[in-house]
Symmetry: D2
Subunit: 345 residues, 4 copies
């Protein structure tokens, strides 16, 4: 297989930088275009970006920054565009024949856009055929960071025991708000009990991700989800306290075994960004912790712990994962890898 | 009314220091004895204590530190003794005629010990009569910090709408772990998903606090409670995300009105430590926040916010309160004030 | 004495909010006008402001927000305008007869503007006569937050021992950067080694503050100052590590006595915002600490500790103070109180 | 060359864990013994240790924990023993023929113990011959974490320009205090102005490290050092603000070139733990930062920035480095590598 040229849209932002970093030595993708809003026209990426962590990858440093209006060469576009403006731009790129893998929220619930977590619902990718009827390219979305982490933890339970109700409280990291994001004055010695639009995303995206593709459409799962999303003074790594009602009987050991043995299509296909095990299970009672578990599997594994009975819904546990890798840039990249393996590119 | 002499047991610890501070200018109580484990024998309080915040109150500075084995003069003892060893010491003090108001966990579930939140179940205080049959003094307990804050928020809902299921996730402050408590290496840029024994306390204390006193015993409420307790990098102020199932229909405005108008016996009696309003309701979507709301009502009010529908249990909201004042030292003091007003002292 | 009506310029910003809070119950000043840039025209202060701490004072809540272009009624204007644009606006206000006490940097070094720390150089206030020759009003500046805290600590040493060299490293709080100020992503688990323009301010303002007024001009002190200014994850309270070369011999006890007995004109005049003691001395080796000492004297005292010999410059110590009260809003207010006491208003 | 068997003393502590991690895949050393105080006798390392970061290396997990009194097989011992008790134990090990590379403070200033930073004073290693006259083994010490980082930054200046006075203020990380170390209650939203014994270490160790070996003894450098050491809420990475008086003229570019081109014996010998460049120079004004620069060169490079003139001493800059790698465990390991390359083992 040859290497595909890829573009990153919104390349100077926090998620854009994650894309650039993850694409640094990617075996299938070569970063050839970085795109941002017009005010940096003519600058190189290295000059325009306020790089947040470590050092800018050498392969990106000297790329000229393209404007959103420019024609792009890359077949594959990774979008880190801001929600609200991303949708029309991404649709227009698809019209012009580009294949867009987006982390933006705008098109996640569109009927013809697959919302894919490759270990959970790889078959949804077939929705792109709907888009291809009227245009050359397509858009594939990944979920909100918390929704992805949660979907990974729920999928094996859905498969083995059935889940009909799920109540979650998230403790979300600062990197999820982008840069500059949350003011240090707001979050030092504090917790913020609200993240704009986040709870709605979790409550609506999970049913679509866990939904069934039939007759060219996704019928959302009837799983009821309640989400409370909070922000805590943690740099990276979302932690989600999950309570679930299972339709079948289980034991703690059953649940742990189900989590630990979970594997999906990315693992079978050995996709480059697929972690060996999508879910790690820790039996110590003080895990998962964001600082200690966010890098598991190169940031692509989530870690489950404290599986125990719940007097109200039946079972509860916590799950932690990297919000900027598994929950954002790595998610889009894994989607693109799946699309390639499926012959869609 | 004359001023009662009071002793603080475990006076050098974090909660002990809170007692000392809150008793500084108390209209009904005069701090005359500070008690700690023997190794500081002969020292003054000011010399023995590693004072955590601000300056040691002048009235405590020069008190000689008494040992636990010493005879005490004070009728009223406030106990900040560590769980595990507190129970036998507190029972022995009651045997010798002292009236003990304890923050320790040991006796909270004992059948003859009232577990009181004065706005919620002041009538439980009558349980002390059971103790008095066999001894001169008595022990009154307050709940775990999270349980108290939660009980205050649940009580008006129980009264007005009925509550049969309740699922909570707490984001607890560092001061709840005492001093030195949590290592800075463990909690910086991190969340800890586990607090030893905490979830069991919340799940068992809430039913007793909301239980019914009849025939000289408390029949626990049949309210099912599920708790997940986490530690976050916040100095003071626990935040609890609460989901409840109500037995009657309600609207958001109904719930907010119920919270805001809640008042109890301490308010009617105008007890010195009673806040004007036990529950403050904030309608902004970014409240409650621990740093901004922990001092409400001198640390004796809790703040409720984000009241909204919950797709799984029906309703959800967040509540924040001071864990060391309303959730610990202030709770014991308000209990003692209630006992005085009830003529038990 | 009657109460003066005062206006706060830049009232919605972080320092502006401090002014509003400190003016809440001021015995000499009544807040009658709040002024901000035009985009909030027609709104009340309560609607326009993103209030950072606690609750908006009731007396400010409903004040209509005035634009900078509006005519003002208040004789006394407190300016929390941003550096860069403040200077011309403040001069224009003085032209129109207002007396401006500014926290902005623009005019601090202007030859006809007194740069006053009332305990240090109250006589410099006479410089306003230069301004009054050509206009009705005047501008009085206070120093940069770090410069004020440092000037207070240096003044008694200058008086008693002479100081010719001073080297400082500051660990500055987040509130000094305004709101939203420093991104939480930049400062969590981190230190920033640079604050734009800060070192130059300290190095140039200290000589003017410690300079001598003669012949209608301030001759700067020849004290050489070197400053390194860093930002640390602390909400409020700057800490400065100071090394000094004294011209006369001294002992640790001499220095501590000099610091502790320091007092100035605000103390003699008993100005409302003057702390009883401008400098508190702590002999424990783990003080001063910003969280424990920033509120000393209502935020108007600075705390000195760890006075000890320095193998290079002779003596060293640390000093901590509130950067938003003594270092900003409280500084301007104390200047205005001094001007009133001096009969300049 | 064959692989040497090594033991780690104090293996369960924070620095001990760093040794274990750094020895995980070391080309010259094989970890065969882990030693700790007696209370864990009979346990495996994996069972006894409270592992702080990530996962215990597989090669250490099942090693039986040895007691300090046990006979050891390893020729090379790395000591992470606590200061105060380390010295006699390390001397006794040397008496029994072991070669000890210690991070403990006890013997750093002993006349016959070399205090080595391999890029700075590799020739001091010859001091071990003094020890070998009376025993089979020897002890080599590395400096205090701040002293090592500072010594690296000073050495090229000493060589190229001469340095006679140096004034430093350190902002030190939490990991430097070991585990559990600093209470989260003490350091959240705070700075601690004092670290027990730290300033004396910096002030006395730097002259020995920069001293001259002649006639079988080290004559300390006459460089005067003043240190103020503070603790800040940063997990790892000490930052030091340095002012120096140079004996020769220089420009900023001279200094930057001197830092950037600095290289020493470890680089010439290509020792396994030697970074390519001991000192990295950043020209951006917002570097060095501990979170961004602590991992440079695998934690073995220090990063210098903000080189600029100092009105008092002449020049100033900041330097950041990993306190647990370059400043502790990695320092001992590099010393051992140098000793092997020098044929001392």
């Amino acid at each position: 297989m040859t290497t595909a040229n890829v573009a990153v849209l919104g390349a100077t932002g926090a998620v854009g930088q994650r894309f650039v970093r993850l694409l640094q030595d990617h075996p299938w993708f070569r970063l050839t275009e970085v795109v941002a809003s017009g005010r940096h026209a003519g600058e190189t990426y290295g000059d325009a970006v306020h790089w947040i962590e470590g050092t800018i990858p050498a392969n990106a440093q000297d790329l000229p920054l393209r404007a959103l209006e420019d024609d792009l060469d890359a077949d594959v576009c990774f979008s880190a565009l801001p929600g609200g403006s991303a949708g029309p731009i991404e649709r227009a790129l698809a019209d012009r024949g580009h294949n867009v893998f987006t982390n933006a929220r705008d098109l996640r619930l569109a009927a013809d856009v697959p919302l894919v977590v490759p270990e959970v619902n790889p078959e949804h990718l077939a929705l792109v055929e709907l888009q291809r009827r009227t245009r050359d390219g397509f858009v594939v979305a990944n979920g909100n960071c918390t929704a992805i982490i949660l979907a990974l933890a729920l999928k094996p339970l859905v498969d083995d025991f059935g889940v009909d109700r799920c109540s979650v409280v998230s403790l979300q990291a600062l990197s999820g708000a982008g840069y500059p994001g949350v003011s240090s004055i707001d979050i030092t010695d504090n917790v913020l009990p609200f993240i704009e639009g986040e709870e709605e995303k979790v409550e609506t995206e999970i049913p679509k991700i866990l939904g069934e593709l039939a007759g060219g459409a996704v019928a959302p799962s009837r799983l009821a989800v309640s989400a409370t999303c909070t922000r805590v003074p943690v740099l990276e790594g979302h932690t989600v306290a999950v309570s679930v009602h299972l339709q079948e009987r289980a034991s703690i050991d059953d649940l742990c075994a189900t989590f630990a043995s979970f594997s999906g299509k990315p693992q079978r296909l050995r996709l480059p960004s697929a972690p060996g095990r999508p879910i790690l299970v820790r039996r110590e009672n003080d895990r998962p912790q964001p600082r200690k578990d966010r890098d598991a599997g190169g940031g692509m594994s989530v870690t489950v712990g404290r599986v125990r009975e719940d007097p109200v819904l039946g079972w509860k546990f916590l799950v932690t994962g990297s919000n900027t890798i598994r929950g954002a840039a790595g998610a889009s990249i894994l989607n693109a890898e799946l699309a390639i393996a499926d012959g869609l590119l």
